[in-house]
């Protein structure tokens, strides 16, 4: 069981009655991660993979140790883990690196974050690839038959989100991966909203690529990772090349390195990667199972409370069976931005409002072009905070809508 009071002491941001319910956008960062990053800047501040002197070797060792820790969190090998800025960069890397051509098919879904949607529309624009978009119902559930019909022998890649950043609905990744592989297609998963919140095993899921954001899992901003299956690493072209990505360079030739280093051109975000490694360590010590159990308890409170408030329309699954702690809702007669401002001004509660970078879902499925309010729970939130949130929301619905 998670000791939330003890965990909250690690997060310096939590003070003065602040209630942070926007971990879907970015999470808070605990002191152990901040200290680890400062330790790099104070004690062994040098470049990695370049110098021969002791301090540089130490920096390289810490950087690669961080890679091991992060890879371990998702049961990947270190040579399958690329350090990037965020999920968006990982998704772009794959979209641009797998050699898409005219006539290749891409299958994605209507639930995607823009970072896993417009990259494929751009491939369609630039390369003439075909994009098929699988729709879902208002609860965010997919019909696997739709995937089976959409994926054909011409499908080059199926790219889906693991957890919707709007609805919190879980996508059946294992089943979709099976369909994709049976028809010879690759599968990529946007795991930005799943890696921070549950135990992820890339081998069990059977995916080829998996992108996630370090800054959503108690790591620093500017840190993220991309898992590339070992057998595919050499088949993916890097997005950027330059220093640190080559084995040899001549006047008229260059030879790209093997392994994840080929995707990390130039001086990497060293402190960020080391911080991300410490975040992976922090979460592992607490236990991903404990974190998801804690979130499940809070999610149940929140869902039950939201459904009881008159005037509130909850989007997505109305049970916690295939749902995480992300809640999108609207209050009749009041704009989502006004709700968010009211919560912030009255009760120091921080939630997101708007379209959440998922316009196709908001427009076509939910019919909420103006956006919705989104609240999300994480390991540092408490039942008391959920109660305060529900009380404030009830007052807003009663008096301001």
């Amino acid at each position: 069981m998670l000791d939330v009071d003890s965990i909250r002491k690690d997060f310096p941001f939590i003070k003065n009655g602040r209630i942070y319910f926007d971990s879907t956008a970015t999470s808070l960062t605990p002191d152990p991660v901040l200290n680890k990053m400062l330790e790099y800047y104070r004690e062994y501040r040098s470049n990695v993979g370049r110098g021969i002197y002791k301090i540089s070797q130490l920096a390289t060792e810490e950087y690669e140790n961080a890679r091991k820790k992060v890879a371990g969190l998702i049961n990947a090998k270190p040579n399958e883990l690329v350090f990037l800025r965020n999920s968006s960069e990982g998704l772009n890397l794959v979209a641009n690196g797998i050699g898409l051509r005219r006539g290749d098919e891409i299958v994605t879904t209507i639930q995607e974050h823009h970072s896993n949607f417009i990259i494929w529309l751009r491939a369609k624009e630039r390369l003439g690839s075909d994009v098929k978009v699988v729709s879902c119902n208002k609860s965010g559930s997919f019909n696997l038959e739709d995937f089976d019909k959409s994926v054909t022998k011409k499908t080059k890649i199926v790219s889906v989100t693991h957890v919707s950043n709007v609805l919190g609905a879980l996508t059946p990744i294992k089943e979709i991966a099976k369909i994709a592989h049976e028809k010879g297609s690759l599968i990529m998963v946007d795991a930005a909203q799943s890696v921070p919140h549950m135990k992820i095993d890339v081998r069990d899921l059977g995916v080829d690529f998996l992108a996630f954001s370090g800054h959503k899992m108690c790591g620093p901003t500017g840190a993220g990772g991309l898992y590339i299956k070992e057998t595919l690493v050499e088949n993916v072209e890097p997005l950027c090349i330059g220093g640190g990505t080559i084995d040899d360079v001549g006047v008229d030739y260059y030879k790209i390195k093997k392994g994840p280093a080929k995707f990390e051109a130039g001086t990497p975000p060293i402190a960020e990667a080391i911080g991300l490694g410490e975040a992976a360590n922090y979460l592992s010590q607490i236990g991903m199972g404990n974190i998801s159990d804690h979130e499940h308890r809070l999610a149940k409170m929140m869902l039950d409370g939201l459904l009881q408030i008159r005037g509130v329309r909850v989007h997505g699954p109305l049970s916690l069976e295939n749902k995480t702690g992300i809640f999108s809702f609207n209050i009749s007669g009041i704009d989502s931005h006004d709700v968010a401002m009211a919560l912030d001004a009255s009760s120091n509660i921080m939630v997101r409002s708007g379209h959440h970078c998922a316009l196709p879902l908001m427009k076509e499925v939910l019919n909420e072009r103006a956006g919705s309010v989104r609240a999300s729970v994480y390991l540092y939130n408490t039942e008391e905070e959920v109660n305060t949130f529900l009380n404030a929301l009830e007052e807003i619905s009663k008096t301001l809508s």
């Binding site: 009255s346 708007g354 009663k398």
Partner: protein, 167 residues
């Protein structure tokens, strides 16, 4: 006993701010609550009821004109529009800058519907179709303004309409 409106009729309604209250309505409201003496009012002290008849020019202690407007562009609601926010409150400890119950009555009588939550310290209303929110800490915020100029005028109008409710 003199009623509120009978007494209010005798005021010049100059909203000069001399007594430290932002408006004559606020001063009268406090008078009826026993928190204000008519001796504090320049006009009643000199028994002058016409704006132009005073010999001392009152020093305004409060102003309905918005200082220091913060513009947010693009507006979170619509990327082609502007949000503007201003804080009228210069005392960070004062959390009851507006009397929303009075605001709702005056606004409702003159301009339309104002939704209020005294518990949360928030008022919501519209000015020319633009959503406006006022908060008990003295902030006023307008969204979906066409541009900065439009945002300024909506804020100014909103503040004027709220002025009688400033504590």
């Amino acid at each position: 006993m003199t009623s509120f409106y009978e007494l209010y009729r005798k005021f010049p309604k100059a909203d000069c701010g001399y007594c430290g209250n932002a408006s004559c309505v606020t001063a009268l409201r406090k008078y009826f609550m026993g928190k204000f003496s008519l001796d504090e009012c320049l006009y009643f002290k000199k028994q002058i009821y016409n704006k132009g008849d005073f010999t001392e020019k009152p020093t305004r202690k409060a102003s309905p004109f918005p200082p220091g407007i913060r513009y947010i562009s693009p507006c979170p609601s619509d990327s082609s529009m502007v949000t503007a926010e201003v804080s009228l409150n210069s005392s960070p400890d004062q959390i009851d800058y507006f009397d929303f119950i009075t605001a709702e009555k005056i606004f409702g009588y003159n301009y339309g519907v104002m939704k209020i939550s005294p518990t949360l310290g928030i008022a919501r209303f519209e000015v020319d179709g633009k959503a406006v929110m006022a908060f008990s800490d003295g902030r006023v915020l307008v969204r979906r303004a066409l541009d900065k100029k439009d945002a300024f005028w909506q804020l100014r109008t909103s503040i004027r309409r709220l002025w009688a409710a400033v504590n």
